[in-house]
């Protein structure tokens, strides 16, 4: 994979919490464009997850014992 200066800058901003996606906020997607709609849904999910506060001690449910 080649890293351009632009890609590195975006990655640095993202890791600093500024969010590459919010820098390039997509315009509202027309429903007839499923690719754009899927990406927008992914972004919305990501935002919802980011807003959710968790105790640091909470581990992922990998040891899955219902």
């Amino acid at each position: 994979m080649k890293f351009t200066r632009r890609k590195l800058a975006v990655a640095a901003l993202a890791s600093a919490g500024l969010g590459a996606r919010s820098m390039q906020a997509p315009a509202p997607t027309p429903p007839e464009d499923p690719n754009a709609a899927a990406k927008e849904q992914g972004n919305k999910n990501s935002e919802t997850l980011a807003k959710f506060d968790l105790p640091m001690s909470t581990e992922p449910a990998f040891q899955f014992k219902p």
Binding site: P34, N35, A37, A38, K39, Q41, G42, K44, N45, S46, T48, L49, A50, F52, L54, T58, E59, P60, A61, F62, F64, P66
Partner: protein, 475 residues
Amino acid sequence: MPDFTDDIFFATIPELNAKLKAKEFSAVELVRAFARRLEELGPRYNALALPLTAAAIRRAHEVDKELKRDRHRGPLQGIPFGAKDLLSRAGQPTTWGARPYAAQVFDYDATVLQKLDKTGAVLIGKLAMIELAGGGGYHTAAASMFGPGLNPWDRTRWSGGSSSGSGSAVAAGLVPFAIGSETSGSILTPAAFCGITGLRPTYGLVSRHGAMALSWTMDKLGPMCRSAEDCGLVLEVIAGGDAKDPGSAHKSFYYTPQYSRQPKTLRIGYAPVDFTERAEPSARPAFEQALAAIRETGAQLVETKLPDLPYGVLTSTIIVAEACSVFEPLISSGKVDQLADPKQIAGLKAGLEISAKDYLKAMRIRTLVQQKIRRMFGEVDLLLAPSRFGPAPKVSEPLDQLSPEPATPKDPGMSALIPAGNLAGIPALSLPCGFAGNLPVAIQLVGSAFSENMLLAMGKEFQTRTDWHRKRPKM
């Protein structure tokens, strides 16, 4: 050849078993009759993926020889069944409902099929499904290489997904029972829309070896039948530990409803809003009657609601992230474009971009889901809600609006019980409870992990007081 009437095609497993034992017909005759019906009527509902008639008749001959020697293997011996086409049968195509896998053949049997073979049940066909069990999300009922699943109660309506063929084949009397799979709603939804009884077992209770992986941490296999009792009989056979399934709970299941707690000792949590404002108006009378029937059992209904958590976002993130890892070669190769549903294609492509950060966050919040739901079962024994809030939608309608958005409603009640239950890995039973117009609607009972006997006992009690599970569509 005996005269096989609808009374046979819509009989329960114990009824068929009794007739086999009484030699009213042989296993070969029974299998031949169901196989012919499946081949003739299955395409009418886009339910049939692959007939396995010749192999089934050979197997039925062996069963008859065993019965002649009084070698009894249990109530499923000689009973025909169908399996969702994500279960591998050695040497036969296993398409996963998706065109890119149309020619796929495995050289081994799925564990559930091995177990059913061993008990003498006879696989007569593979049943249609939503492509890749709908892992990327899908927009229409036609998201399948077999075409849209059509509902036997009204062929302009959807049979539900992703176990579409399993739902419609049981409802139309083409098989006495079927095996379906659920990652988030794929057994409960077609069971509800088709008016049959479906059980989603606890995660890990039934081996998934030989089944298509969609989401390793969410996938379950389960029975779709005519009654709660039938579900119990099938589950007893297919449950059990399996070293070939890394998610196996290594537990067995014995169907013993007689030892389960009496309904009058049970506390059942429900949200009234689910049965009133949230339910479609046409379905409300049926749901009210279902609540009344549950009350008549003596069970105590108590108001409750799910913990406020983003269930929809969690299931979407986890399922799509895992599915995109499973299907990375399909997506990267571009063959994903051969799928039928543009939303599914787009969802899988976009899913490759889900970050580790988001997946891990979702899995960490899932830990809270499990903890909080486990705590709920300290207050109640079972949860009760409509399986779906209305009847099957039209085949021509977009499906995106089927589920209410669980993250933002004013009074969510238990509208997110399907994703919540799947995230928690707990069992659920869908029971037909009446009609909205000419279409079936259903309630779901949800229990704590490995409480299948309690669920099935309550389901059986409900079905002794109602006859909705006995209704047949006009063919």
